[in-house]
């Protein structure tokens, strides 16, 4: 059997510091830091500050490209638009690398690209940030008990959204180039890279099999997508009861992208801002006439699940869930998406 070696190289762990320094000359590097225990991505100045053995960040990566609050345009008192272009003040001369991203979060960015970049018209604010950012992900060897990526067609070694993916081996990293931009990055460090051998590939495959073994496959997402075709199913009546209608699941989710646009006025003019919004809030679809197509939590919960698991596949060809488990961990009433899916699958 010919083992897949194309695009893969080896980096010895002892060369990691040099690798980092070479990268840092050309790119600004962000990664999980020792200071927050891997809770967030911060600017990394030295490889010792990196905490690569972490589960996942608290908030997802979407804030880098689609921040909570974003000024779309500013205007003066005479209704003249004074700033309408994508964030001009954030001119960067150096590209950034998000280093050590989990494959689920990188896949989520791949989905958000479909919404903001590939769907016409493209969103200039997102595109500007995305075009100057590269993603180097780290395959998961020790998933959390709340991870369920393999149930949603993602995985500990998913390559979507990443430019390069690292696999940790004993004493080395297996580094796989995925995109053109990834190739450019590796060009700059090629003197540190060694050719990959079959043994390395076998070691990597074994670690991924072990990781997948830890990730129990809870459901087969393609069956769930089909099950959801029954919009008026009776099980929606009970599933929403615990839900308090807060925005935690939406805001923590790496693929949720709903937003609101609001005008603010200051003395000398004002601005239009974009902020995160959630379909779980009652005001989300409230018409000025008072009519609300989704009047109760039942309709809103159904919308959230349908949008992720039935509408998104029809619009973008992808289920908008990467199984990161943040919604499961942070829901204040422990309304577990995994149980909801299982309950629905069990219904007639």
């Amino acid at each position: 059997m010919v083992k897949e070696r194309r695009g893969s190289v080896i980096l010895d762990k002892k060369d990691f510091e040099n690798f980092f320094s070479l990268l840092a000359e050309k790119y600004t590097i962000f990664g999980p830091s020792q200071d927050d225990n891997g809770d967030a991505f911060t600017k990394i100045d030295s490889p010792q500050s990196l905490k690569l053995h972490y589960k996942n960040t608290h908030l997802s990566l979407k804030s880098y490209f689609f921040p909570q609050t974003e000024t779309l345009l500013t205007f003066d008192n005479h209704m003249k638009i004074t700033k309408g272009k994508e964030n001009e003040t954030e001119e960067q001369t150096k590209c950034s690398i998000l280093f050590g991203v989990r494959p689920c979060d990188a896949t989520a960015i791949y989905f958000l690209d479909k919404v903001f970049q590939e769907s016409s018209p493209p969103d200039p604010y997102y595109v500007k940030r995305r075009s100057v950012t590269r993603i180097i992900s780290f395959a998961c060897t020790d998933p959390s008990s709340t991870c369920f990526c393999t149930s949603v067609a993602c995985g500990p070694d998913s390559e979507k959204g990443s430019d390069i993916i690292f696999f940790e081996l004993d004493g080395h990293y297996l580094v796989k180039q995925i995109t053109q931009e990834g190739e450019e990055i590796l060009e700059g460090v090629k003197e540190l890279l060694k050719p990959v051998t079959d043994k390395h590939i076998e070691e990597k495959d074994r670690s991924m099999v072990a990781a997948r073994h830890k990730l129990r496959k809870i459901f087969e997402v393609s069956n769930f997508v089909k099950k959801l075709e029954n919009f008026e199913a009776p099980y929606w009546e009970k599933l929403h009861q615990k839900c308090l209608g807060c925005g935690i699941c939406t805001y923590m989710c790496p693929t949720c992208h709903c937003f609101d646009m609001t005008d603010e006025v200051t003395g000398s003019g004002g601005r239009r801002v974009r902020t995160w919004d959630s379909c779980m809030f009652p005001l989300f679809t409230l018409h000025a006439s008072g009519h609300n197509p989704r009047p109760t939590q039942k309709e809103r919960m159904r919308q959230r699940l349908m949008h992720k698991f039935n509408y998104a596949p029809k619009i973008f060809g992808e289920v908008f869930c990467v199984g990161c488990g943040r919604c499961v961990v942070h829901c204040p009433v422990n309304l577990d998406l995994r149980s909801v899916v299982q309950q629905i699958m069990e219904e007639q």
Partner: protein, 330 residues
Amino acid sequence: MKPSEHEIINTVKKLLADKKIDLFIGYEQGTLPLRTSPCFLVNPDDSNKLIWNSFCANNLTVYLSRIMPNGKNKKFKRIGILCKGCDSRSLTGLIREKQIKREDLYIIGISCQGIIDSRKLLPQLNSDEILSIDEDDDSIIVKLKSGEERFKRNHYLYDACLNCAYPTPGEYDMLVRTAKYAPQVSVPDPAVKEFMGKPREERWRIFEHELSKCIRCYACRNVCPNCYCKECFAEQTKPTWFGVTSERSDLLFYHLTRIFHQAGRCVDCGACVRACPMNINLRLFTRMLVDEVKERFGYEPGLSIKEQSVLAAFEIDDKQEFMTEPEKGT
């Protein structure tokens, strides 16, 4: 199964079977370690799902004003609910503020030994697989894959529980007693006292720092039984009170206003802190007002259904030292 759990299940089964209640809100096993989840029962046979342990954290009364808007619910005429001490004070508050009617409820009260903070206990388990959890008056006994470990209960309680003076519900139709305990005297919270002892600039710095983590998910509001407004001030557009962003001034405005809306009403159940995904110490500030109201007006909300809202009434001997007389100088 503990006797208290048994008692709850049998009572609820009978209540539902005899049609004395149409719905029961209690706790069921959660899907995550050290978590439980609210559960809604209409079928007497489902009563076996109910549990009671030191992880039953949620304040279930938050559902009452949603399910029974102003006491007019056609589907569920009488609702049964399981209340700990703090929960029953929230419930009394809802009755006091005319959001629900006492006669529409069947309250099963349960005296609580304090709820374990899973965020404090979980790191002690080193991600080891949990096989089972048990508890006695003194400890939580966790059977891990690597062996059994005992954790002293008092070291892992929620901050709100450490200072709890009312663990037994005051208002109930039936009371389930769990264990012997010595009720505490209501005292000002030590953490708040320490905070108030700091200089003003330091207090503001701490306040700003904590709240800068906020992402405006509104979980603190949605999980609070006192936040039942049909249209929250945070979302009004006519007029727009403040901005919708996650920038400093908007965050401070939202939280300051919400905290003050709780004055004289908050029972310090801790639901807001538990819900916050960013681990903001919201309790520090709401508890500050709880202690201040007690000090100024000798009032703690939720102790009797006959009480009046403290800020909706006044007494002749209310302290007024903050009033100034311009001629005499401030």
